[in-house]
């Protein structure tokens, strides 16, 4: 069992120097016990103590890396059950499944989707992360052939076969790329663990329930395996939700080491209906999956999944922001209305959606106020005439329109006078308080 904060405290230098960023050694010990601090932050602790405490200070869910280089996927090291408690840190990786029983053209199509289904959205680049290479042929040569082809994508791999000889053959061509070995089960764990150890690759452990899974993990860790990914065997949404909840709780609340690893889930094996498969993946995003294996990445299916992942893994402590600048809605021209608001992404989305709904092409000037909403930014002194004035001058809107009429949000009507002083060329118009009233406002204004 993990050590308590007091156990750890006894082993610390007890200098209360504060150099670790926490005022006292006791507070630091408590943080270590909760997995919320790293022992390395203490400059005075001895190497001996470090080794002794490493288990206690290890995060309750291990960080596992699959692949190498830029495209390596890091999963695990999560600290909470609900995103509002802090945040979710490591986004789950999406894998597309190819099988050596598939036709050439099908394989080619799926691998091509890794590139074709990539999107840019609110300043982030959205894409899949892995190729899951499965052998149903039981023919080593075919499997190796497919592995080589998948390596051509440069995405990290998940190798899927129960046969340790086949796995060995596949690893002989790709072990350097640190693929995930899927999977050690009750029948083959000794051989699979030996391969994982020899090649220094992460190992997935699969079982049909959490009892067996826990025992198996203990057996492979006894063989020296550290980087593990869990497959609890559930193959429908309801059971997956239960198992993922148990695994996350056991790791975080009970400090139960055998389940302190990220989870792999297989929506591709759950439902034939592509919508149901996509939503099973969606539930995986919300509830604790680390790797989500999909049967394909067609754009209509991939885009909503990537966006859901983006939403759920947004840090709730940091408001999401859009970039400062001028956003054209519709096809505005030099006579189109100019609206001003802040760069809180929800503000931007709401305002741009309503402007779009008005069907009146317009320019929206988005000012960087560190992602605060209009009223909060005004309250914080960031959305005030002294800062709006310079922004309006630098943003370049004067090159886009020949008029000088600026619509400001209704809830900051009080700044209009002072803003006119800052921007003597401009006439300030007070828009509606609520975004929902923008269409009516713009329509009446243009009438």
């Amino acid at each position: 069992m993990a050590l308590t904060g007091l156990d750890i405290y006894k082993k610390l230098p007890q200098k209360n120097c504060g150099e670790c960023g926490v005022p006292t050694c006791l507070a630091f010990a408590m943080k270590l016990a909760m997995g919320k601090a790293q022992l390395d932050a203490c400059p005075y602790v001895s190497e001996e103590t470090k080794a002794e405490l490493s288990e206690a200070s290890a995060p309750p869910i291990r960080l596992v890396t699959i692949g190498v280089g830029d495209k390596a996927l890091k999963i695990g090291e999560e600290a909470v059950l609900f995103r509002h408690e802090k945040t979710f840190y490591h986004q789950p990786g999406f894998a597309v499944l190819v099988d050596d029983g598939m036709s050439e053209s099908e394989i080619g199509e799926k691998l091509a989707q890794l590139k074709s289904s990539q999107f840019e959205r609110v300043g982030q680049f959205l894409r899949a992360d892995l190729v899951a290479v499965k052998s149903s042929s039981n023919d080593s040569a075919k499997f190796v052939e497919l592995v080589k082809k998948a390596m051509g994508t440069e995405f990290p791999l998940v190798l899927i076969t129960d046969n340790s000889e086949m796995m060995k053959a596949a690893l002989s061509v790709c072990a350097k790329t640190k693929p995930l070995i899927y999977a050690a089960n009750e029948g083959n764990f000794e051989q699979m663990a030996a391969l994982a150890k020899e090649e220094n690759c992460p190992l997935a452990v699969a079982a049909k329930d959490l009892n067996i899974l826990s025992e198996l993990v203990e057996k492979v860790t006894a063989q020296g395996i550290k980087d593990i990914v869990l497959d609890p065997g559930s193959r429908n949404i309801k059971d997956s939700l239960r198992d993922a909840t148990f695994i996350r709780r056991a790791a975080l609340k009970k400090k139960f080491k055998p389940l302190g690893y990220p989870i792999i889930t297989f929506p591709c094996e759950m439902y034939d209906d592509p919508y149901m498969e996509a939503v099973a993946a969606g539930v995986g995003i919300m509830k604790y999956a680390g790797i989500i294996v999909l049967s394909d990445l067609e754009a209509w299916k991939a885009l909503p999944l990537y966006v859901l992942r983006q939403n759920i893994y947004t840090d709730p402590q940091k408001p999401m922001q859009v970039e400062e600048g001028i956003y054209p809605i519709g096809e505005p021209d030099e006579d189109s209305p100019v609206l001003l608001t802040t760069n809180f992404s929800l503000t931007y989305f709401t305002v741009s959606g309503e402007v779009e709904a008005s069907k009146i092409p317009s320019w929206i000037c988005i000012m960087d106020v560190e992602g605060l909403s209009v009223l909060t930014a005004w309250g914080a002194g960031k959305f005030v005439p002294e800062s709006i004035g310079p922004f309006m001058k630098r943003c370049g809107i004067t090159d886009k329109v020949k008029h000088r009429k600026l619509i400001i949000p209704g809830c900051v009507a009080q700044i209009s006078g002072e803003l006119e002083e800052e921007l003597p060329d401009w006439k300030i118009e007070v828009g509606p308080r609520e975004a929902g009233d923008i269409p009516a406002y713009l329509k009446s204004r243009s009438a």
């Binding site: 609900f82 009892n211 826990s214 239960r242 885009l303 966006v307 269409p439």
Partner: protein
């Protein structure tokens, strides 16, 4: 070290709210655990789906979601019947869009006639939302409450600035109320306190924590719902124990990813739109939604299938 299932116990319970006229009533809520956590509590009622019906033909729906209703757009009665009989709606969400003072500004009494016609035409329960205009809704929902007497509808949205009129109307004619708060736990709770202080039975309330679509603020609503549900169950906070009403269909179909048809790199527009709504519905279910207000029949069908899967 043997694995022991880490089950939690909860002190609180979600209230059961009954909607619909005698003989055709549906109850929602009653959960004693987090959404679909059957391993540690009960979820006696399954979440239900309300389908949107407008009292005037909508002018801004995308073609993907207009198509299934194209023969009934100008007839709210036929529209509601189609949702009930062909599309498997479990509730009708009737929106009196025509009453918006910034639009047609239809007279409340006239709008109430539509309500009367619709509630008499269908047997499933109804939820009636005004246009969202604070002043007009107050006056409108009073009329609606009167003509809908005996049907135990859900009236909304009741907001900070008009809850008094709407709550009074609901008490007078024995209806339920949906309280709309702006993605904020404390304001949701405060509104429940204010409405119950006026004498509305807490079992006649649902919470609308604001609707959001995938990609457009979904994560805020999702987390607010998780927090409300945890407050209700773990802390036994009575003023958060109302079922949750998720009004996202209209938000989904505003999203450009759901409605854009000329963006080939985003894939099939019809499937994408349907999945956008279905995925949003799934996240609302996982966050604790009890009533889902939706638009596309295909997304409705899929969501019902998902609910069956989750209820097992």
């Amino acid at each position: 070290m043997a694995f022991q299932a880490p089950v939690d116990t909860y002190q609180g319970k979600i209230r059961e709210v009954v909607v619909g006229k005698e003989g055709n009533q549906v109850a929602v809520g009653g959960e004693t655990t987090l959404p679909f956590h059957f391993f540690e509590g009960e979820m006696p009622k399954k979440p239900i789906i309300a389908m949107e019906v407008y009292d005037v033909a909508p002018d801004n729906w995308s073609s993907v979601v207009l198509e299934p209703f194209k023969d009934v757009l100008n007839d709210p009665v036929a529209w509601a019947k189609k949702c009930q009989d062909e599309y498997g709606a479990e509730m009708i969400s009737l929106r009196l869009i025509s009453t918006d003072p910034n639009g047609e500004n239809r007279d409340s009494a006239k709008a109430a006639e539509t309500v009367k016609a619709v509630i008499e035409a269908v047997s499933i329960p109804i939820c009636i939302y005004g246009s969202g205009n604070i002043e007009k809704d107050g006056e409108l929902l009073k009329k609606v409450a009167e003509v809908a007497e005996g049907h135990k509808v859900i009236l909304g949205p009741s907001q900070e600035d008009n809850y008094k009129q709407i709550t009074a109307a609901a008490i007078g004619y024995k209806h339920n109320v949906s309280g709309l708060s702006p993605i904020d736990v404390n304001m949701a709770k405060q509104l429940n306190i204010l409405m119950t202080q006026l004498g509305l039975d807490a079992d006649h309330l649902v919470m609308d924590p604001s609707g959001a679509a995938l990609g457009y603020g979904l994560e805020y609503v999702y987390s607010i719902m998780e927090r409300l549900r945890l407050a209700a169950l773990q802390q036994n906070d009575e003023m958060t124990q109302m079922p949750m009403f998720c009004d996202f269909g209209r938000e989904v179909w505003k999203a450009k990813e759901a409605k854009t048809e000329d963006e080939p790199s985003w894939g099939d527009p019809e499937k994408r739109g349907i999945l956008w709504e279905f995925m949003t519905a799934a996240s609302m279910l996982i966050a604790g939604g009890d009533i889902l207000v939706m638009r596309h029949p295909e997304a409705v069908k899929l969501t019902k299938k998902l609910i069956d899967e989750l209820m097992g």
